[in-house]
C-alpha cells in the first residue's frame, strides 16, 4: 500500500515550472563581474585611495546586511551577492576622494534602510545604491562634489581638483569644455576611455559597454530599458542641448559623460525596482531619459541620472499596475457593485 502510494504520487508545485540553471545569486555575481572592468579602470585612474573607498563600500554593505539579519534572527543571505553588488555600485558612484566614513554610511543607508527594512531582496521599491548615494549627496553636498583629476599613475596622490565635464557644461558652457579638451574628437576619445573627472566607476564608457555587452549577451538585462533610456536622452540632448537653438545639441557628449551609461545599463535595469511588463519598461526608460536631461539642462544639479532613476522607481509599481493584464472574464464594474451592496 505504502509503495503504491509513492509510485502514483504526482509532483505538484507552484509556478514557475520552467527550470533553469539561473539563480538570483548567479545573476548578482555576473552583474558584479560585468562591473569589474569599469571598477578597475576607475582604480587605475583615481589611484589606491579610490580602491580603498570602493572596498569600504562593499565591506560596509556586507557588514550592514549581516548585522541586520543576525540582529533580527533572519536567514543570513550574504552569499546571494546582492549586498556585494549594492556596495560595489555605491562605491562606483562616489567620487574617489571622499573621506573613508562616507562609503560606510552610504552602504548602511542603502542596505539597511532601503533594502532590509522593506523585507530584503525583492521587496525594495528604490535602487539601494542610488538611495545611498542620494542620501550622501544631500547630507554631505560639499564632500560629494569634490572631483579629482584622473592621474593614471599611482604616485600622484595629490591630484588637482577639477569639475566634471557636466559640471563645466552647466557652469561655463560648451566653449570652456572645448578649451579644455581641444577638439571634439579628443573630447569623445577621453570620455570613451574614461580619462576625466567623475565618480570612480562611471568614467570609462568603454569598460562599461564591455560589461553591458556581456550582460545583454547572457540575457541578464533586457534591451528595452537601456535603449529607451539612452534614446530619449540622446533625442533631448540633440533637440534642446544648445541654449537658444533647436536641433543643435551634442547627444554623444551627453551620453558618454556623467553616469548615463552606468545608470542605463546597470541601475535602471535592476529587476526589483523597474516595472516587470515590457511595455512598462519602455515607458520607464523614456521617463528616466527625459528626467535625466530635464535635470541636466534645466535643473539645479549638473547630473540627473541618479534622481531620474529614483523618481521613476517611485512610479514603477504604478506603471506595473496600469499595464497589468485584465484577468480573463473579469469585468471592471463588479468591484464597484460589490462595494456598494
Amino acid at each position: 500500500m505504502e509503495m503504491l502510494k509513492k509510485e502514483h504520487q504526482l509532483t505538484i508545485s507552484v509556478s514557475p515550472h520552467v527550470k533553469s540553471e539561473e539563480t538570483t545569486s548567479r545573476i548578482m555575481w555576473s552583474v558584479s563581474a560585468a562591473l569589474m572592468p569599469a571598477a578597475l579602470m576607475g582604480i587605475y585612474f583615481f589611484g589606491p585611495y579610490a580602491a580603498v573607498n570602493l572596498a569600504l563600500a562593499i565591506i560596509g554593505a556586507l557588514a550592514g546586511e549581516y548585522a541586520f539579519q543576525k540582529f533580527l534572527k533572519r536567514k543570513i543571505t550574504l552569499t546571494d551577492g546582492s549586498a556585494f553588488l549594492t556596495g560595489l555600485l555605491l562605491g562606483m558612484n562616489l567620487p574617489g576622494s571622499v573621506p573613508f566614513y562616507l562609503p560606510v554610511i552610504g552602504s548602511f543607508v542603502a542596505v539597511v534602510i532601503c533594502k532590509q527594512l522593506f523585507g530584503g531582496l525583492g521587496y525594495n521599491v528604490f535602487n539601494p545604491a542610488l538611495i545611498g548615494r542620494a542620501f550622501l549627496l544631500i547630507s554631505f553636498p560639499k564632500l560629494m562634489t569634490i572631483w579629482k583629476e584622473p592621474t593614471a599613475a599611482f604616485i600622484h596622490l595629490d591630484a588637482k581638483t577639477t569639475a566634471t565635464p557636466l559640471g563645466i557644461l552647466k557652469e561655463e558652457g560648451v566653449a570652456k569644455l572645448m578649451e579644455i579638451f581641444g577638439d571634439k574628437i579628443n573630447l569623445y576619445t577621453q570620455l570613451f576611455v574614461g580619462h576625466r573627472a567623475g565618480s570612480i566607476g562611471e568614467t570609462s564608457a568603454f569598460a562599461l559597454l564591455v560589461g553591458a555587452a556581456f550582460l545583454l549577451y547572457r540575457g541578464y538585462i533586457s534591451w528595452e530599458i537601456p535603449a529607451s533610456f539612452l534614446g530619449t536622452a540622446a533625442l533631448m540632448a540633440w533637440v534642446f542641448g544648445t541654449k537658444g537653438a533647436l536641433f543643435a545639441g551634442d547627444p554623444l557628449a551627453h551620453l558618454l559623460s556623467g553616469g548615463m551609461l552606468l545608470g542605463a545599463f546597470f541601475m535602471a535595469t535592476d529587476y526589483v525596482t523597474c516595472p516587470s511588463v515590457k511595455r512598462g519598461q519602455i515607458l520607464f526608460g523614456i521617463g528616466c531619459g527625459f528626467l535625466t536631461m530635464l535635470i541636466r539642462l534645466k535643473g539645479g544639479f549638473p547630473e540627473g541620472v541618479m534622481f531620474a532613476i529614483l523618481i521613476m522607481n517611485c512610479f514603477a509599481p504604478l506603471i506595473d499596475r496600469s499595464f497589468r493584464t485584465r484577468t480573463f472574464g473579469a469585468r471592471k464594474e463588479t468591484k464597484e457593485k460589490e462595494v456598494r451592496k
Partner: protein, 197 residues
C-alpha cells in the same frame, strides 16, 4: 497673453512636482497616510481634494481681495480662510453623500478632516502672500491638488506592493509609510532648482 499662459503652466508644474507640498514641505500628512492604503480611496480623495482646493482658492481669493483688503482686516485671514474652507467642505460632504455614497463611507473621517488640512489652508495663504491674480490662484490650487493626488497615487501603489513584503514587525504599517515618504522626498529633491518663481 503668451507669457501669462507660460506663467500658469509653470505655476502648475512648480506646485505639483517641484514644490510638491507633501514631499518638500511635508504638509497634509494626516490625510496622506490615512487614505493611501488602497488605490481606490486614494484616487477618490485626490479628485475630491483637488476640487475642494480649487473652490477654496477661488472663494478665498474673492473674500480676501474683494472684502478683506478694502476693509483692511487682512490680519484675520487665517480665521476667515478656515471658516470659508469649512463651509466648502461641508458642502462637498453633503454632495458626495448623495452622488458617491460608497466612496463617502470609505473616506470616512478623512473627508471632514479636509477642512483642517494644512495644504488646503496653505494654498490661499500662499496666494494672498504672493499677490497672485485670480487665474494664477486657480492655477496654483490646481497644481497643488494634482501634486497631492500624484503623491497619494504613488504612495498607494507602493503601499499595496509592500503589503506582500516581509517587513520587520516593528516597522509594519505606518512606520514603513513614513520611511517610504522620506525616500520619495529624497528622490524628489532632484527637481529642486528646475523652475524658480
Amino acid at each position: 497673453m503668451h507669457s501669462e499662459f507660460t506663467k500658469m503652466f509653470e505655476l502648475i508644474i512648480a506646485a505639483s512636482l517641484i514644490n510638491n507640498f507633501v514631499f518638500t514641505k511635508f504638509l497634509g500628512l494626516c490625510i496622506f497616510f490615512g487614505v493611501s492604503k488602497k488605490m481606490e480611496t486614494a484616487v477618490g480623495m485626490s479628485i475630491t481634494f483637488t476640487a475642494v482646493m480649487m473652490l477654496g482658492a477661488a472663494a478665498n481669493w474673492l473674500v480676501f481681495n474683494k472684502i478683506m483688503v478694502p476693509l483692511d482686516i487682512t490680519f484675520l485671514k487665517i480665521i476667515v480662510f478656515i471658516g470659508v474652507i469649512a463651509g466648502l467642505v461641508q458642502a462637498s460632504d453633503t454632495i458626495m453623500r448623495k452622488i458617491a455614497p460608497a466612496l463617502y463611507y470609505k473616506l470616512g473621517i478623512y473627508l471632514a478632516l479636509i477642512s483642517t488640512n494644512c495644504i488646503i489652508l496653505a494654498v490661499p495663504l500662499e496666494n494672498a502672500a504672493e499677490h497672485f491674480s485670480f487665474v494664477e490662484s486657480l492655477a496654483f490650487g490646481l497644481g497643488s491638488g494634482i501634486g497631492f493626488g500624484l503623491a497619494l497615487v504613488i504612495m498607494a501603489s507602493i503601499r499595496e506592493k509592500l503589503e506582500l513584503a516581509d517587513v520587520p514587525a516593528p516597522f509594519r504599517g505606518l512606520p514603513m509609510a513614513f520611511i517610504v515618504t522620506g525616500l520619495i522626498a529624497l528622490a524628489f529633491t532632484g527637481f529642486s532648482g528646475l523652475i524658480t518663481i
